[in-house]
Amino acid sequence: MATAAHKHPNYMAIFWWLTALTILELGVVFLPFGKMINGTLLCALALGKAALVAAYFMHLRFETKSLTWIAFTPLAIAVLLIFVLMPDSFAVSKKTAGAAKAPAAAPAKQ
């Protein structure tokens, strides 16, 4: 059984990057660009932070590529799930919006 099988990266540098990205995230919340742009920025920052943790703290960067594929599979499944459920989500959201308008329309009919 090997010990210290891979080199240790500069962990403090990763820590400062993660801290800086977290502060940046808190700043993005207040940007006046609208939910779509802010949301995209926040997702990108979160994925960047997650990648840093996986690559350096979990040493994925120093492991075999096959292991990286195993690690990425859950992300792919989650993204796939969002696309699979999206049509249903839109249908429900249209129905909900319709139901919200219905009380206003109802008195006009009477």
């Binding site: 240790h8 962990y11 919340v29 926040l42 979160a46 997650a50 292991l67 859950p74 799930l81 839109f90």
Partner: protein, 206 residues
């Protein structure tokens, strides 16, 4: 590491795994984490879909607040650093420093869970319940408690795991004999940190 080399000794891995040549245990942890990540991924994807299809989903940023959770995020990042430092010291053969850093990590996790309990209590007092809340869609509370609770349980399990690693190191005179087990426990702890990064963004900031 071949099976023949270690024939006759117990607690020896039978053959080298091509994915993680150091140990089968490491591969086992990665596969477990991948499965666990599917669970968290499904919860977060489900949360996103529920939110997108709801007409009266409350604004999490305004309802939940982010000051405390930003501090909790920073705390988990710090605990990840102490975890890698523990492994680094163990690699250098210094058991005392390794144990100290493991205890710092466990303390970080304990403070995290305590802050989460404080946050939950505060929100429950303000009216956020698992089946309803004063701000809008009832599923907001359901999903909030489900996702943060599931993560909190992981942190609690992680603290117990880390404390068991302290005992593991203490029971073995040779630091090298503990390296692999501590590295595997570190994978779990960093995963908990990684998941919180996603939970913080999706449930608090977006």
């Amino acid at each position: 590491m071949s099976a023949a080399t270690h024939a006759g000794t117990h607690a020896v891995e039978p053959a080298e795994t091509p994915l993680t040549p150091e140990s089968w245990g490491k591969l086992g942890m990665w596969i477990f984490l991948a499965g666990d990540a599917v669970g968290f991924g499904t919860l977060l994807a489900g949360y996103g879909i529920m939110r997108a299809s709801s007409a009266d989903w409350p604004d999490p940023y305004e309802v939940l607040g982010i000051n405390l959770t930003a501090l909790m995020t920073f705390l988990l990042i710090c605990s990840s650093v102490t975890m890698v430092k523990a492994l680094e010291w163990l690699g250098k053969g210094d058991k005392r420093h390794a144990i100290n850093y493991l205890l710092f990590t466990a303390a970080g996790g304990t403070i995290f869970v305590s802050l989460q309990a404080y946050e939950w209590t505060h929100l429950i007092h303000r009216g956020l319940h698992i089946n309803g809340n004063p701000w809008g869609a009832a599923l907001f509370g359901t999903s909030f408690f489900l996702v943060t609770g599931f993560h909190g349980l992981h942190v609690t399990g992680g603290v117990i795991y880390l404390l068991s690693m302290v005992r593991w190191i203490l029971n073995r005179p040779d630091p090298a004999a503990s390296y692999n087990a501590v590295e595997i426990s570190g994978l779990y702890w960093h995963f908990v940190d990684l998941v919180w990064i996603m939970v913080f963004t999706f449930m608090y900031l977006l």
